[in-house]
């Protein structure tokens, strides 16, 4: 390890990458501390990846194991693809936080513990037997333990201010934030700016928080206990301008951008649900883009309002998580029949039923592909990281609009709340999106025939508009209420080919079922050729991943390749229809491993489609994979 000359009396050690886990009570401001330090590092030029992990309760009982909130940050001078398997540094605000997270700390790792959170009450709530204090009983001897009385130091820093004790204590997290900045040699400009913006209207609070932040920083400098700092150089990231983005932000921005490029109004009908609600919140802050957000009475109304909006010529979109998506199944069938654009995002969470709302999972793939009555094919795509959420949301809109179809986009709680640096594109470089509008007719229609109640009505003389006449891609024209001469009626009953009128004709039904399926299948013709994420073009083993397992698989695959294993990694964004090149690719490896945070849903689809004996690595714990887990599974399968 390089030794760099320390400022003052402190040593500085260089690190390639670092994993820090901040943990404490949900009232301790852990999420803020974590995301602020993330921003600092990202701005500094590190690659970063984060994993916020908080309890289900709004305010879980203080001090309990259930109440622990965590924020894991991985930053480095090299590419990082996951928030890290094990941490280098664990910051704990109380005993419960230690208890819950100690197993994630590397042997020999650093613990920074707020001693005030280890009083006898906290120890009891955390379930330490006989209230034995781990900070003092020697059980942490294998770690570099630093005990800091954050509470006292914070109060000290604020002595003389007019704040009450409660208010004072609320800025504890700033002390930690300041200290950690010191420890990793980062300036506290970022957090200071943040505080200025946040407390613009409350100068007293601004002052207090700034004071504590600085106190934390200075504490590192002055305290005798800390003799080592760490230096993580900027990562060799592609040139360009970056920002941080979470997956939910990515989806929201992707939808807005795509609607703008398509020249459509964005209508977002949604019903709040964890972890999808932030998309609604984000969109509702962007009304100046003409975005209309509609908090519907339930998920059925949400998707139906989006269908209505699309029928009205806007881009209708909706998002939810598993239980809410379950409610949308019937309406999705309607959208299939109507053949209008619709984007449905499922931010997956732990299931089944209410399951584990704040935890991540990938177990809604089958629901997305198969969860409707009848033959109701809907394209299903999946994002693999926070930034990819933008890309895939954009693609979802493009496909929905250009192919006149509902599209389901799968993300999950892990990428939705996690953040990573994004080299954002310029608006002008985004792919064009061209809605297949029908052409209004400027001439008046002839009068239609006479009415005879018993026999029905005679067809009008002029050639009728055919709402279900398809182009070569199988796509029907989009005629929007208000367009002259294109009046037509659509609905969920089987419709006659071309006219869209109701039809019960058996062969027509077969034709329409086939046409709808072909239309969706043809979407694959527009996909880019399939590309490996890493590894040899043929060989021993192919890892097929999808969704937020990306980082862990990539990390493991690169490592294995470095070690000389014949292992490749392909990450699927298109789950239905599959990429046309997937068949050939699968044939070029002796073994196939499919890691999923479910019990084998993609694996089942691959086996059925390609008759390939794909093996699964399946974890259903509400937690992302670690790279280590992937690695172990690959080695095991290779050895078989």
């Amino acid at each position: 390890m390089d030794m760099i000359q320390p400022p003052h009396h402190k040593t500085v050690e260089a690190r390639e990458k670092v994993v820090i886990l901040f943990a404490g009570d949900s009232g301790d401001g852990i999420q803020l501390t974590g995301s602020q330090f993330t921003d600092t590092n990202a701005l500094f030029g590190n690659d970063v990846s984060t994993f916020p992990n908080y309890p289900a309760e709004i305010r879980a009982p203080q001090g309990t194991l259930a109440g622990v909130s965590g924020f894991q940050l991985h930053f480095g001078s090299v590419d990082v693809f996951t928030p890290g398997d094990m941490c280098d540094t664990l910051v704990v605000m109380n005993a419960a936080a230690l208890k819950v997270n100690l197993h994630k700390l590397k042997k020999g790792g650093i613990i920074i513990a707020n001693s005030d959170g280890f009083d006898s009450k906290n120890l009891r709530l955390a379930g330490y037997p006989d209230e034995k204090n781990p900070l003092t009983d020697g059980s942490l001897d294998n770690y570099a333990l630093h005990t800091v009385d954050v509470t006292k130091l914070t109060r000290n820093a604020l002595e003389g201010t007019t704040l009450g004790m409660k208010e004072k204590d609320r800025s504890k997290n700033m002390f930690v934030l300041g200290f950690i900045h010191w420890m990793y040699g980062r300036k506290i400009e970022g957090p200071e700016k943040f505080l200025e913006a946040k407390f613009k209207a409350k100068p007293e609070l601004l002052e207090a928080n700034r004071k504590v932040l600085r106190a934390g920083y200075n504490y590192g400098d002055t305290s005798e206990t800390f003799t080592t700092r760490f230096a993580v150089k900027p990562a060799p990231m592609p040139k360009g301008t970056y920002r941080n983005i979470t997956g939910n932000q990515g989806v929201a921005i992707g939808l807005i951008a795509a609607a703008q490029k398509a020249g459509l109004e964005l209508f977002y009908g949604s019903y709040p649900i964890t972890p999808a609600s932030d998309i609604l919140h984000e969109l509702s802050r962007n009304k100046h883009f003409g975005v209309k957000t509609f908090q519907a009475e339930d998920e059925i109304a949400a998707v139906c309002s989006a269908i209505g909006a699309s029928y009205g010529g806007a881009l209708g979109a909706t998002a939810s998580s598993g239980p809410g998506i379950a409610l949308k199944g019937e309406a999705l069938g309607l959208a299939v029949m109507l053949e209008i654009p619709l984007v449905v995002v499922n931010v997956q969470r732990g299931g089944p039923s209410t399951g584990m709302p704040t935890k991540t999972e990938q177990a809604d793939l089958w629901q997305a592909i198969h969860g409707r009555n009848g033959e109701a094919p809907i394209p299903v795509i999946a994002a693999s990281s926070p930034t990819d959420c933008f890309e895939m949301a954009y693609e979802a809109v493009k496909t929905a609009v250009e192919h006149m179809t509902p599209v389901i986009l799968l993300t999950d709680g892990y990428m939705a709340n996690g953040a990573e640096p994004w080299r954002f594109p310029e608006a002008k470089d985004l792919r064009p999106i061209v809605p297949p509008f029908a052409k209004p007719r400027e001439t008046d229609e002839a009068e239609s025939g006479t009415l005879s109640a018993a026999e029905g009505r005679v067809l009008s003389e002029v050639e009728a508009f055919l709402p279900y006449e398809r182009d070569e891609r199988g796509v029907r024209p989009w005629a929007i209420p208000g367009m002259k001469g294109l009046q037509h009626r659509i609905g969920g009953i089987e419709k006659e080919d071309k006219t869209g009128n109701i039809s019960y004709d058996p062969l027509n039904h077969q034709r329409m079922v086939d046409l709808r399926a072909e239309k969706v299948a043809k979407i694959a013709d527009g996909f880019r050729p399939i590309r490996l994420d890493s590894g040899p073009e043929s060989g021993e083993l192919l890892i097929v991943g999808w969704g937020s397992t990306y980082g862990a698989i990539r990390t493991a695959a690169l490592d294995l390749q470095k070690e000389g294993h014949s292992v490749a990694h392909v990450h699927l964004r298109h789950l239905f229809p599959f990429n046309n090149g997937l068949r050939g690719l699968l044939q070029r490896y002796r073994k196939v491993l499919v890691p999923e945070m479910n019990k084998g849903q993609l694996r089942q689809l691959l086996r059925a489609e390609y008759l390939v004996d794909a093996q699964g690595l399946n974890k259903v714990q509400g937690l992302p994979f670690t790279a280590q887990e992937i690695r172990n599974a690959v080695l095991e399968l290779l050895a078989r």
Partner: protein, 344 residues
């Protein structure tokens, strides 16, 4: 067919009928409603392409197919949600919603009450035949207690909704009732509904001659009609029975009084004021079983009208305000976000 009414006023400018065969049972009350809606469209004269009909599922919900306007035959109960989305992005069209008592009060009840409270500007025609027609005769949430139907061979045990009391409870801004057999009245109510800005709820008693024939007979038959119906008109006292009876308030309780025996005159009567929310709350409560001795007559007409901002005006106003405050959305600014850094 007895329910088909005299043709709409000449000159016939636009023909709003589509080329599809009308497929209701012969004699169904739905024909009469279709006829009157066409007539109202005639009178209003909006170009066909500016009119949209959204429906759910049920016999009544086939309606959109019969008009050469834009139309969507949705899914069961969800028309209010579809129409709300449409209306949000198309504030200038004429939007109508067609629904049945099962469609809007059973499976779709929640969407209906939320539509009303949001006051989305559409005309809702609720075809109430007190039965499930399309699925062949099960009782509905408006079927009277004891109704024998295919799903209640021993009689329904459910207390039925009073649809207008429910809609009033949901803060609807236009509450009205009419009936298939009185096309002239229906036409007037429909015209007023179309004029109203906000959700115009028109309950239409509609005879299902196949599964629930005669459900509203007492309100249409010559002999019984005068005694069991009351037509409310703005500013007029509540008089019925060909002028022989009236309604007055005894404290807060409406009672029937005789106008012929000298005890009461029209001056004593409740005067209809469709702008009075408290009166309307009571008026919708005239819902006695007509077979009951001393039953209040069933009112028809426009019970309540109030002005409240519509859903889409406020929604659009916020968009406009946001643009005014923040400027038209700049996509590059959005992509960039609040904080960036540059490498290289």
């Amino acid at each position: 067919m007895s329910t088909v009414q005299p043709a709409a006023p000449a000159p016939k400018k636009i023909d709003y009928s589509s080329d599809q065969q009308v497929r209701w049972c012969p004699g169904c009350g739905d024909y009469s409603i279709l006829k009157q809606v066409e007539s109202v469209l005639q009178v209003k004269g909006r170009p066909k392409e500016e009119i949209v009909f959204i429906s759910g599922i049920g016999c009544s919900s086939r309606f959109p197919y019969y008009l050469d306007t834009y139309g969507m035959h949705g899914i069961h109960g969800r028309a209010p949600a579809i129409a709300s989305g449409l209306r949000s992005v198309q504030p200038d069209l004429s939007v109508w919603m067609i629904t049945g008592d099962g469609d809007s009060l059973s499976i779709g009840g929640n969407h209906l009450i939320h539509l009303l409270r949001r006051n989305v500007d559409i005309n809702v025609l609720l075809f109430n035949n007190e039965i499930y027609g399309l699925t062949k005769g099960q009782y509905s949430p408006t079927s009277p207690e004891g109704a024998i139907s295919r799903s209640t061979p021993m009689g329904s045990t459910d207390h039925p909704f009073n649809p207008l009391a429910l809609c009033k409870g949901a803060d609807g801004t236009f509450i009205s009732r009419t009936i298939d057999r009185d096309p002239k009245h229906m036409r007037e109510v429909l015209l007023r509904a179309d004029d109203h800005r906000g959700t115009s709820l028109v309950e239409i008693y509609q005879n299902c001659n196949v599964f629930n024939d005669g459900a509203f007979e007492v309100f249409t038959e010559k002999d019984s009609k005068p005694f069991h119906t009351i037509y409310v008109e703005q500013g007029k006292p509540l008089v019925f029975a060909n002028g022989a009876k009236g309604i007055k308030l005894d404290g807060m309780t409406p009672v029937i009084v005789d106008l012929t025996n000298g005890t009461h005159s029209q001056d004593d009567l409740w005067v209809h004021d469709e702008r009075d929310p408290f009166k309307a709350s009571l008026l919708v409560r005239f819902f006695d079983d007509p077979r009951k001795e001393g039953a209040l007559p069933r009112p028809f007409g426009v019970f309540f009208v109030s002005d409240r901002h519509t859903h889409e005006t406020k929604m659009n106003a916020q968009v406009a305000l946001a643009k005014q405050k923040q400027g038209d959305g700049d996509l590059d600014a959005l992509l960039r976000g609040k904080q960036t850094w540059t490498i290289g």
